[in-house]
């Protein structure tokens, strides 16, 4: 097995969810400070900073000065949507491996929930943008192709994922109840995570009874909308040996960006970038899906978990529904997945949700929900409508 490429030695998670009155910058600084404290490092030790803003775009390069991070040797503001968290850790790993920096903070912060009572659907739906572009709702649409989509009522990201989920259902016989099994398993994990926003157990019946957002997706198929920030500190394998806390080693890393020809024969709706990434990822370690102990998969919707499991080879293409319906993803199951409750039940910090839980599990810090066998933890990120994908494998051991 290959030598680790880098290590994550610190994790910082702020309060999550209905956190009001704080800027993204403030939350990001707190997350970095928490991660430094966790790692036993001082601010001056930090010489790299990678920044990922969410939908509210509330942080940027100005975070450096706002947080007083001086004399950095590495700095960037990155955005590859939900795949960014894995990508930040990848680029940070390459930087520390190549001597460009010693300790790189990778931070995500978002404040899409503007105020109590504000619609989270609106925050992620682009309603404000669309309404502005059409003259406050009067029938004068935005120019060109955007106007065509607006006329058809194509707003927000939910539709794209619902379109993909429906295609999977039609092509392979996948059922809404099978999506529900994913929601139930994740909620069962969230019960054991005191950071989770949703901790009341649910059943398949609850899933089926929850209102439709965009058919075929029910409310309980969709991720939360959360304010908060998460940061991790990446360092070299050598430096990690001296870390205060146990490291989560980065054993393998990969990306896959399939593109969408929007044309006959393109499997875009029923496939992810994992098809490209998995060869690189598994190839670096000479493993297959059978060797993975824990999955932390990007779950903006239940469907992305199902299709990602297929694309990483845990089951054949089209068999994801049957694969997840027996409860194997939940506590006590044979493939513990999204063990903190994921984006569906814990909190939605884009790729930092699966990343943070992967770090917790690889370091053995999951408490009540800690999975006993944690040698290989798969962490994935997904962005666009299944357009962008990145993944890493974490382990308690450097090789």
């Amino acid at each position: 097995m290959a030598q680790a490429k880098a290590a994550i030695v610190g994790l910082g998670i702020t309060e999550m969810g209905k956190v009001f009155g704080r800027s993204g910058t403030s939350l990001a600084i707190e997350a970095i400070n928490l991660a430094l404290e966790d790692a036993g490092l001082k601010k001056d030790d930090l010489d790299g900073l990678l920044i990922n803003a969410g939908i509210s775009n509330s942080i940027g390069l100005g975070l450096q000065n706002a947080g007083g991070f001086k004399g950095l040797r590495l700095l960037n503001h990155m955005n590859a949507a939900g795949s960014t968290a894995c990508q930040m850790v990848q680029y940070a790993s390459m930087a520390v491996q190549n001597g460009m920096a010693n300790y790189v903070a990778c931070v995500f912060a978002d404040t899409p929930l503007a105020a109590p009572g504000a619609s989270s659907g609106a925050a992620y739906g682009g309603a404000a943008r669309a309404a502005a572009a059409s003259g406050n709702g009067r029938p004068a649409g935005p120019p060109g192709w955007a106007g065509l989509n607006a006329h058809y009522g194509y707003f927000g990201v939910n539709i794209g994922y619902a379109m993909a989920a429906r295609r999977h259902m039609a092509e392979f016989g996948t059922t809404s109840e099978q999506f529900g099994a994913i929601a139930v398993a994740e909620r069962d994990w969230a019960v054991m995570n005191d950071r989770a926003q949703m901790r009341t157990p649910i059943t398949i019946e609850d899933h089926q009874a929850s209102r439709f957002i965009v058919e075929p997706l029910h409310l309980l198929d969709c991720c939360l909308v959360s304010n908060g920030a998460v940061a991790v500190i990446v360092t070299s394998v050598e430096r990690a040996a001296d870390a205060k806390a146990s490291p989560a080693y980065v054993l393998a890393m990969a990306q896959g960006h399939p593109g969408d020809s929007r044309s006959a024969g393109d499997p875009h709706e029923v496939s992810t970038g994992a098809v490209i990434a998995r060869e690189t990822l598994y190839g670096q370690l000479g493993i297959t899906a059978k060797d993975i102990d824990i999955c932390e998969l990007y779950d903006c919707y239940t469907y992305t978990v199902l299709v990602t499991l297929e694309d990483y080879g845990f089951c054949a293409k089209g068999e994801g529904g049957a694969f997840v319906e027996d409860g194997k993803l939940g506590p006590g199951g044979s493939l513990p997945t999204n063990t903190g409750g994921g984006e569906l039940s814990a909190f939605y910090m884009w790729g930092m949700t699966p990343m943070s839980e992967g770090v917790i599990q690889a370091r053995g810090g999951g408490g009540q929900r800690q999975v006993a066998k944690n040698d290989l933890v798969l962490v994935t990120g997904n962005g666009g409508i299944l357009d962008y994908h990145a993944s890493i494998i974490l382990s308690p051991r450097p090789a």
């Binding site: 609106a122 004068a140 060109g144 039609a170 044309s263 006959a264």
Partner: protein
């Protein structure tokens, strides 16, 4: 097919004017690569087979199948507040490209993936018409 819609009416721009002009005449345009002949969605600026930017407009038959569809329950734009739940479909044209549209003349509960459809054109203004699709018997 004429309607007084409450929905946003697209404004043709440089890249889409020809498409809307044709729609007004009841013709559905796609792009075709002048270099390799591949059919492309009307929005495309380059060929995904050969990367050529030499694309020309081509008339599609207007026939295809429902590749996927959703029924939208959220109101993310004020024009749609009385329209939910409404459908949005991804139609795969017989020529290959997949395009977003709406299905008309069919109850949302009767829409099926794989159903045969053909384009109909909805007049929105003096200048603008948009293609929508209605289900037809399988050929």
């Amino acid at each position: 097919m004429t309607t007084t819609t409450n929905r946003p009416i697209p404004t043709p721009d440089e890249r889409s004017a020809e498409f809307f002009r044709a729609a007004k005449e009841g013709r559905l345009l796609i792009k075709r690569c002048s270099n390799c002949g591949r059919n492309l969605a009307p929005q495309r600026e380059a060929c995904d087979a050969c990367t050529s930017e030499a694309l020309e407009w081509a008339e599609a038959s207007g026939r295809g199948v429902v590749y996927s569809f959703v029924v939208m329950h959220q109101v993310l734009h004020p024009s749609f507040k009385d329209e939910v739940p409404y459908n949005v479909a991804l139609v795969e044209l017989d020529e290959g490209p997949r395009i977003i549209s709406n299905l008309v003349g069919v109850a949302n509960s009767d829409i099926r993936v794989g159903a045969r459809v053909e384009a109909v054109f909805e007049d929105l203004s003096e200048e603008v018409a948009v293609p929508k699709f209605r289900t037809v018997a399988a050929d």
